[in-house]
Symmetry: C2
Subunit: 454 residues, 2 copies
């Protein structure tokens, strides 16, 4: 045993004081959001009816490298951060690998994931703007829980549209949100015009993030004193989530550890974009040749099988157009796909980096992910979220390659959250009832054919 | 804001290397276990068929003040320990109290509670003795989960008898245990002779810890290579749980903080006994006049309304007799009481200390506990377990008294775990369907009348 502890914790005074905006260092900037009517870049004023003003500024700013974390947000962070960077000694031993495996664990808070990092920031700016409340969507429920917690803390109203399939599979998620005073509506619902339209066109649909976003945006813009907030995809979210990467970087530096690869799961990109931010900067600046690997579900493979094109962010087509790797806003992943990572598109920042060849992507089937999850849980103790387990799966694969080659590579992956509310999926897995679903080329071609012409 | 951080973490090299055995410093030792047939003190050899040998030694040792933590247990501890001592700045602010509130948070591990501290120790000694596996009971499911995790880590078989009411209220707990490879049987069951007897005498019973213990003991002693392990009540468990108190003591000393009171919830006493160990030592040695407060549910009030007498530890009366504050081994708390803290008796160590006037006890009604839980969750973020929320309730009460008097008291309480698997109870609370149940004097007299005559 060398002298690296099981868990590397930063002290409070070592916590990053500012978020890092990777866009400032990108040579090819992410493509701008477009007005869906005019196809012209969205101006700040056009976004103000939907988003808080400060957040719009953060969204559109491709130049400022650092944004100071407001004191109130920093104090909230201190309730659950810094999060540990864990050396997976037990997993290494179980795999018999010479690789050194680390994971940044973001699950030690009640939302169960990293989502709280951006939730408190967005709620803070809403409060600062004097709003009454915010609306949002949630898929697996982690983001909705996080936002409920942030709103409870700041005394803001919180309305959550929860993808119907998750609402039904995860009744307890709803209760957690209620504990924090939020209202939760299964989506699509009859409470919005766009929800009614979607239900008419797709009766019996189990919903998707794209639908829920449309409903939440409508709910925000049709009432005085509300704005919409989003837990992933947006540039501002990646900015807030950079706290994950900055802490990881600081923890690694404390022990002079240089990663050979950084692995993260990718749905809309909130975790991955945050985790990799400082490492990608070093790569862009030619200071590092660290591999950066996005892992997505084979059932919703935006990076590996999507198109890089402008698309709607939501199913109802009420949001701006974003250029991203996308399966088409019409794409709804199979309901038997568990957990999050169900979004049809991918962060514009990450899409550009992927297109520039600065990162890799791999799609993995669901049952393999749960196998890796259980294997990890039994030796490392933590019961991982299905989302996070995508990263575990690939980290284990890479560590096993090292066992073959004898290379002592340093692998860092993001363990974004815990699976305590995913026991229905684990049960299916235990009972051998979990299926792997992979969309056919025809299905993907059909939804891609509906991409807007820009 | 002063310079005490939100979370005081010890470094790995500051972690306690030995468990502390409070019995060594007690002037009045806890009464010995008695053979239920002869009423003579149990000898080690009589306990070996049920418990692992090393654990029997720990159980009977009233003299050795420290037991070295074995390396393998210590390494496991490092996966989730040291646990943070949190300064509840946000709760203090919300209460407007001059009191300084700290809580030792044991919920940052998949078992969701402090139970893992003893589970890994007990599983380790079972493994060391060359056993195939262990059997146990679980009430709310925290202990069963903890033991499953420990057994998965060490490659031991694990059979859990789960109190039927919890098994039904908490289906996901079962799945977590299965993830760690354990088998889970609702108790009372037809798989044991004692289970059959109990079901015959009480058809439709929702079970109790006392029943489940009887079944687990029978399951251990009727098969080669198995022993029984228990998550609370026993002296050995309090010994292992002293890690909580020792870490708390070390964290407080780092900032020269002297507690005025230590508050912990009490079911069988595992958490409370561990948390208070070093503080009680100082009190016994006349070095401190810190108040020590046990909080129990009004529905299962062993300290405040029980008798201090020899009683069976289990409903089936197969276990040794222990002298303790007890409601009678026949007492089964109302099924509408949520969570743990359902045990009819109390640790012999704590019972003796209480009888000696070294600690106080208070019983609180369930709805008040959930009110405190929700209040705490909204400002401190963490969703607490119902058990832990008993301590929160009294900590808030004490902090509010300080608001009246203006005293800047330092309150330390044990936040033993998280409530992620207790959402059925939270839902009842939100829906106004939670009831407070308090046993009548007649009920208690009836079960006390069946205490064995020793």
């Amino acid at each position: 045993m060398n002298n690296i502890p099981y868990k590397i914790y930063l002290n409070e005074d070592e916590m990053p004081k500012a978020w890092y905006n990777l866009r400032a260092d990108m040579k090819n900037k992410p493509a701008p959001l477009l007005n869906p009517g005019t196809h012209q870049p969205m101006k700040a004023e056009e976004l103000y009816p939907v988003f808080c003003e400060e957040l719009v500024k953060q969204e559109l700013d491709n130049d400022t490298p650092y944004f100071q974390i407001p004191d109130e947000v920093f104090n909230f962070y201190k309730m659950y951060r810094p999060s540990p960077l864990v050396r997976a000694y037990c997993l290494e031993k179980a795999l018999g690998t010479p690789a050194k495996i680390y994971y940044k664990f973001e699950g030690n808070n009640t939302s169960g994931s990293h989502k709280l990092n951006s939730a408190i920031a967005q709620a803070y700016y809403a409060k600062k703007q004097g709003l009454k409340g915010v609306t949002t969507e949630t898929g697996a429920g982690q983001w909705g829980t996080a936002l409920s917690m942030a709103c409870a803390y700041l005394g803001l109203d919180c309305k959550v549209y929860m993808v119907k399939v998750s609402y039904e599979q995860k009744p307890f998620r709803r209760e957690v949100m209620r504990t924090y005073g939020a209202s939760v509506t299964p989506s699509p619902s009859m409470t919005t015009e766009v929800g009614k339209r979607i239900l008419e066109a797709h009766p019996g649909t189990t919903g998707s993030l794209g639908c829920a976003i449309s409903e939440a945006v409508e709910a925000a813009t049709s009432v005085e004193g509300y704005r919409y907030v989003l837990g992933s995809v947006l540039n501002q979210v990646l900015l807030h989530q950079s706290i994950i990467g900055l802490e990881t970087e600081a923890a690694l530096k404390k022990y002079d550890i240089k990663p050979d690869m950084i692995i993260g799961c990718a749905g809309g990109g909130s975790n991955l974009g945050g985790l990799i931010a400082p490492f990608m900067r070093d790569k862009i600046l030619g200071k590092s040749d660290c591999r950066i690997i996005a892992v997505e579900p084979a059932s919703c493979p935006s990076f590996t099988r999507g198109k890089y094109a402008y698309d709607f962010c939501d199913t109802g087509m009420v949001c701006p157009l974003a250029k991203m790797y996308t399966l088409g806003s019409d794409f709804i992943p199979a309901p038997n796909h568990a957990g999050g990572l169900r979004y049809h598109g991918m962060s514009s920042v990450l899409s550009q980096l992927y297109d520039d060849g600065l990162m890799e992507a791999v799609a993995v089937p669901q049952t393999e992910v749960f196998k890796a999850a259980e294997r990890f849980a039994r030796v490392e103790g933590i019961l991982p979220a299905p989302e996070s387990s995508h990263a575990i799966k690939v980290a284990i694969d890479e560590a096993e390659k090292c066992r073959e080659t004898g290379e002592e590579k340093t692998i860092v992956f993001g363990l974004t959250g815990t699976g305590y509310f995913d026991m229905v999926a684990y049960e299916k897995f235990h009972d051998g009832k979990m299926e792997d679903y992979v969309p056919t080329d025809e299905e993907l071609a059909a939804s891609a054919a509906k991409l807007p012409r820009v």
